[in-house]
């Protein structure tokens, strides 16, 4: 293992060791305070905070870039809308389109905010271990029914994809090939999808009952919710309060600049 890999693993571990029940609320609050920023003078702070968190998390750049794909398309669309349809001074014209200076500023600010908040979100999700997550989510007062749906959905995403693949293969083997016209396609796709859903309902009921019979949600294990509140370690408190401080600074600066 080279030194670079060792450093990355150490940084990953630093964030993974940060208790989920403290990490998720504090990073979420940070994301919300970033969403609160509207003043252009504060925009440079957002990439700085996002960069610090991203580099200390040890997450690969390729992962970050792959997660930017979906929002960037949306962002481009909104930016073009803002640049073209904002009121105010015209920067220059391209044929019938007038590019507005206020629109350019708004588009830039929005882009910075979007990319920085997404980066923090990626750090939050990708450094949160799945082991014992259900207990921790309940500890964070997330309703049990939502946690149960979430856990089962996570398991079922793979199953539903695999079932779909198998049904498509068996349908082809039996000669049910969707035709070129839309009505022919619907005639094949609809019963397949409906059967898949019915089968899914039956299977997931069995899985959920089996999970309960094995003790899911009933017993208190080392990872489940404990009645005795655990005392957070010094490391956890430092991480928690430094993230809260960043959020507080952002909110205070925005409010004071707005008032001034």
């Amino acid at each position: 293992m080279c030194w670079h890999e060792m450093l990355t693993n150490y940084r990953m571990k630093l964030f993974e060791d940060w208790d989920t029940t403290l990490k998720v609320p504090s990073l979420f609050l940070l994301m919300m305070s970033m969403a609160f920023i509207r003043d252009q003078r504060l925009m440079f702070l957002l990439p700085s905070i996002a960069a610090i968190l991203f580099t200390t998390s040890g997450i690969k750049l390729s992962l970050l870039l792959s997660r930017f794909r979906a929002p960037v398309l949306f962002l481009l669309f909104v930016s073009v809308f803002l640049i073209l349809f904002s009121e105010g001074e015209t920067l220059f014209r391209i044929g019938p389109f007038a590019l507005k200076s206020r629109g350019v500023t708004l588009a830039l600010n929005t882009s910075v905010r979007v990319l920085c908040i997404i980066t923090v979100g990626i750090v939050m999700v990708n450094t949160t271990p799945l082991a014992g997550l259900s207990g921790k989510l309940q500890k964070m007062r997330i309703p049990k029914i939502l946690v149960d749906i979430g856990i089962l959905t996570g398991r079922y995403i793979m199953v539903i994809g695999e079932d779909f693949r198998k049904m498509r293969a068996s349908r082809k083997l039996r000669g049910y090939v969707p035709g070129k016209s839309i009505s022919q396609r619907f005639r094949v796709i609809v019963p397949t999808a409906a059967t898949l859903l019915l089968r899914g309902f039956q299977q997931s009921e069995m899985v959920f009952n089996a999970m309960h019979m094995r003790g899911y949600g009933n017993t208190v294990s080392s990872t489940a919710v404990s009645d005795q509140p655990e005392r957070p370690s010094r490391f956890n408190m430092i991480m928690f309060f430094s993230t809260l401080a960043m959020s507080a600074v952002l909110i205070v600066l925005e409010v004071s600049l707005e008032a001034g």
Binding site: F28, A35, R67, G88, R102, T110, L146, I149, S204, E205
Partner: protein, 210 residues
């Protein structure tokens, strides 16, 4: 159709979470009052949440954007009240696993999509009767179509009314219309799909419909 992180002001995101918390609480309460079998409720919601997640991988190009099936109407008619928490969980997975939507905007996205699913279910229940033949397809078609159109109109309205500060009102209204028009082919396709699935399920297992 999902609003990413950073697009909306924090106040709107907080209001979205408040609305989502209320609707999720109401949905769970109503679902519990209509059925005592919690395993059934949870398992069905999970399957539909997984389906909601999986269909967002299917991209249909409608230049200059690409759209994906929503299934809000189908979720509404299959799950009823519990469609709201199922959509909330599905949206969380989409945000966490491939960055569709976001965490700060999760509340707003759940309100637009989940609200559309609940209204589509309401439309389905209003129209559902004992019709035979082509008429039996109408409630499902309306539910499927309503699910997409309402989700688009809600999302478009929130986006356009909250982000830009100095944009002409006429342009805002035209943009909402243009967004809805771009999703019309998808809405029609989902209407037909939902109608056919609903008819199939009414024949085979009518008890699964909410």
């Amino acid at each position: 159709m999902h609003i990413p992180d950073g697009m909306l002001p924090a106040e709107v995101c907080i209001a979205g979470y408040a609305g989502t918390a209320f609707l999720a609480w109401l949905s769970v309460k109503k679902a519990k009052s209509t059925t005592e079998d919690s395993a059934r409720v949870v398992s069905r919601a999970s399957v539909m949440a997984a389906a909601f997640f999986v269909v967002s991988w299917v991209h249909i190009p409608i230049p200059p954007v690409s759209v994906h099936p929503v299934l809000a109407g189908l979720m509404g008619i299959l799950l009823g009240w519990i469609s709201f928490p199922a959509i909330l969980v599905g949206l969380f997975f989409q945000a966490a696993m491939f960055g569709h939507g976001g965490f700060t905007t999760l509340g707003v996205n759940a309100l637009t999509m989940g609200g559309a699913a609940l209204l589509a279910w309401g439309a389905f229940r209003l129209l559902k009767g004992n019709e035979k033949g082509v008429k039996s397809l109408i409630p499902g078609f309306v539910a499927g179509l309503t699910g997409v159109v309402l989700a688009v109109v809600f999302t478009g309205s929130i986006l356009i009314l909250t982000i830009p500060e100095h944009i002409d009102a006429g342009v805002e209204f035209s943009s909402i219309l243009a967004m809805a028009a771009a999703h019309l082919p998808l809405a029609l396709a989902e209407g037909v799909f939902t109608a056919l699935v609903a008819r199939f399920l009414l024949k085979v297992r009518p008890d699964v419909l909410a």
